[in-house]
């Protein structure tokens, strides 16, 4: 890194300390809930209420946001489910550990936003219709949507803005929903799974069985979580003086993990939507040179923790090419759900599914006192049952056996 950059220590020292005042009355943005409920009163749409029990968290301008703990409808993520399925599996595992009611539905499509941000082969009407169709499907099950993907989360907030402000669009989407036999519904809050993990952090810490206090983690906050419609991302005066989103960092701190600061935290991961698919040189180079190498030089963390499909994939997979080019790489990458599950004793292969990840993570497991060889043997034993035909699938019971 160049001498022309401000040293990271300076950035940390200059952070505002707790004491920063939230003033929701002075928030520069409208409260979307006021508009949602007004439109409901006028008969334009129906609001899906956050079910009880919920936890209230604070967002960027000091407003409160309700995070439902259970009765959730899990909106999965294309990338997580396709390439890093341990991410979603860990989210479900955590819910099961707490005995929370949830559904993992098949009446669900992708938000289609990855494609939209990559190719623009869609339009506002279609994007809103896809969102509302999914929300209507959630509502039909009596559950509240919990969004696994950072991009779905950000995109659905954009969709909300469009739907609330454009009467014509509402009319068109209402017509489409009528044709599908569905109502125009919209959730009171768009909730990302990492907000659920954050809301549950103390409960998770109470059941922590793996000490993580000697671990240093660098956090990559997902762009579409805190930049795209920024107002309802979680902020906390205790975390970075509320000058940066508290998501992920707040969870890791509750688990006793030390945070490894680095100066390019605001940079994206390099995913680029179109780029990761057809201009991969950009994604690889950005992930390695602007993120992983900077973390390595400035914080030398044991792990990178993030909370989105694209971020885990790009930061993890890009390190292979970086290594080939002699770059300073070699930091495993996981989601906060995986780390939280691991802290509570989840199996690294049956639950976290770490064999789908690329960068070497065995030293990290060893540092936690987990023997990766033994764990892999246990996983292979389970695979044998599938191979022999004794079982067709690994079940939740097998995962905890």
């Amino acid at each position: 890194m160049g001498q022309q950059m401000i040293p990271v220590e300076e950035l940390i020292k200059s952070q505002k300390q707790p004491g920063f005042k939230y003033t929701p009355e002075d928030a520069p943005t409208e409260d979307y809930r006021d508009i949602l409920f007004q439109l409901e009163k006028e008969g334009e749409l129906e609001v899906i209420r956050v079910p009880e029990p919920y936890v209230e968290v604070t967002t960027k301008y000091g407003r409160k946001k309700k995070i439902p703990l259970e009765h959730t409808w899990h909106h999965k993520s294309c990338g997580q489910c396709g390439h890093i399925p341990g991410y979603s599996t860990s989210i479900f595992w955590l819910h099961r550990q707490f005995g929370f009611d949830y559904v993992d539905p098949s009446d669900q499509t992708s938000c289609t936003a990855w494609n939209y941000y990559a190719s623009a082969t869609s339009n506002a009407e279609a994007q809103v219709a896809v969102a509302v169709r999914n929300f209507a499907a959630a509502h039909e099950t009596g559950r509240f949507p919990l969004i696994h993907c950072g991009t779905s989360f950000g995109h659905y907030k954009e969709v909300r803005h469009e739907l609330l402000h454009h009467h014509d669009l509402r009319r068109k989407v209402r017509d489409i929903m009528e044709r599908l036999g569905k109502k125009l519904v919209f959730p009171e809050e768009i909730v990302h799974y990492s907000e659920w993990v954050y809301a549950m952090r103390d409960k998770i810490a109470e059941r922590q069985v793996i000490d993580m206090s000697h671990i240093v983690a660098s956090v990559h906050p997902a762009c579409h979580y805190h930049k795209l419609v920024e107002e309802d991302a979680i902020y906390d005066p205790e975390i970075y003086g509320a000058q940066r989103t508290a998501i992920v960092t707040g969870t890791l701190k509750a688990l006793g993990i030390q945070i490894g600061e680095y100066s390019s935290w605001y940079d994206c991961c390099g995913f680029g939507f179109r780029h990761i698919l057809v201009s991969r040189d950009f994604s690889r180079s950005f992930a390695v040179q602007r993120k992983i190498e900077v973390m390595k030089e400035e914080a030398n963390p044991d792990i990178v923790v993030t909370h989105d499909t694209g971020c885990v994939t790009t930061l993890d997979q890009s390190q292979f090419a970086g290594k080939a080019h002699g770059k300073k790489v070699g930091i495993p990458v996981m989601s906060d759900s995986q780390i939280a599950a691991l802290a509570m004793g989840a199996h690294p292969y049956k639950v976290l599914q770490l064999h789908w990840h690329n960068t070497e993570n065995r030293p990290f497991l060893e540092k936690l006192g987990i023997d990766p060889d033994e764990k892999w043997r246990e996983f292979e034993e389970a695979l044998e049952k599938l191979k022999s035909g004794e079982k067709q699938y690994l079940t939740w019971e097998d995962a905890d056996a």
Binding site: S106, T109, W114, S285, Q392
Partner: protein, 244 residues
């Protein structure tokens, strides 16, 4: 940054030379289409030329690309420059929305989304080039309702991810079956999507005219998608044609 390699240092030609033969009226027509988008006034309020967006922009670090130039050109309604940018610049954007921290309240990334949509809808050659090799993804998302599926993890598709991809490809079926969540056992889609859901998605594509955009950008892909979707819709009792 002294260690960032300029991986794609094709300089952006802003002189207008390249597109001087395209009639001004055509450039103006496309600009008016951008302006007519309902979201236009949500993403652009003018521009201070402060460069905050550029400072945050990942694409600006690696390409001859600037969200400031785009916000400026559109604010000034510089029709010639907008046309050049619509062809040679907008596809470099990563759509990360780091530029949403613009002090003027702009979203240059959001403006680019709209410009891309117009480029696709009008079948600009440069849009086709930018999406070359991308057709299989459009096919996946539009026909299955999920964008990335495990069966895409093949070594020839991801050579730069190393031998680890071979291992996944070799064990794909087995490893998917070793996932406890029932919806994740599939290898052809990200997760199991019910038949009723897919039909509803196809009806959305039909009612919102998205297939017309596909036709502009890739006629072959349009025809394949049309076949698949019309047949499934017919089986479900819908008499729908995408070629109207």
């Amino acid at each position: 940054m002294n260690n960032v390699v300029d991986i794609n240092s094709i300089p952006l030609d802003l002189t207008g030379e390249k597109y001087k033969d395209v009639p001004y009226e055509e450039k103006e027509r496309l600009f008016q289409e951008v302006k007519a988008d309902e979201r236009f006034h949500d993403v652009l309020y003018g521009c201070y030329e402060c460069g905050v967006c550029v400072a945050s922009c990942p694409s600006a670090r690696f390409y001859d690309f600037s969200p400031r130039v785009i916000a400026q050109a559109v604010s000034r309604e510089d029709v010639e420059l907008i046309y050049t940018l619509m062809n040679d610049s907008i596809w470099d954007c990563s759509q990360c929305f780091s530029c949403d921290r613009c002090p003027r309240g702009n979203s240059p990334g959001g403006l680019i989304t709209i410009m891309r949509e117009v480029a696709v809808r009008n079948g600009l050659e440069t849009a086709k080039e930018a999406l070359e090799g991308y057709g299989r993804i459009i096919y996946k998302i539009m026909s299955t309702g999920t964008q990335v599926s495990p069966d895409m993890l093949q070594p020839n598709a991801f050579p730069d991810w190393g031998h680890h991809v071979n291992e996944i490809a070799d064990n794909l079926d087995l490893w998917r079956r070793a996932l406890p969540p029932e919806t994740l056992h599939t290898v052809e889609t990200g997760w199991s999507v019910s038949e009723k859901t897919i039909i509803e998605l196809y009806l959305i594509w039909h009612m919102t005219g998205v297939m017309d955009m596909i036709k502009e950008i890739d006629e072959g892909l349009f025809m394949i998608l049309q076949d698949v979707m019309e047949e499934r819709l017919e089986d479900a009792g819908y008499d729908v044609t995408f070629d109207e």
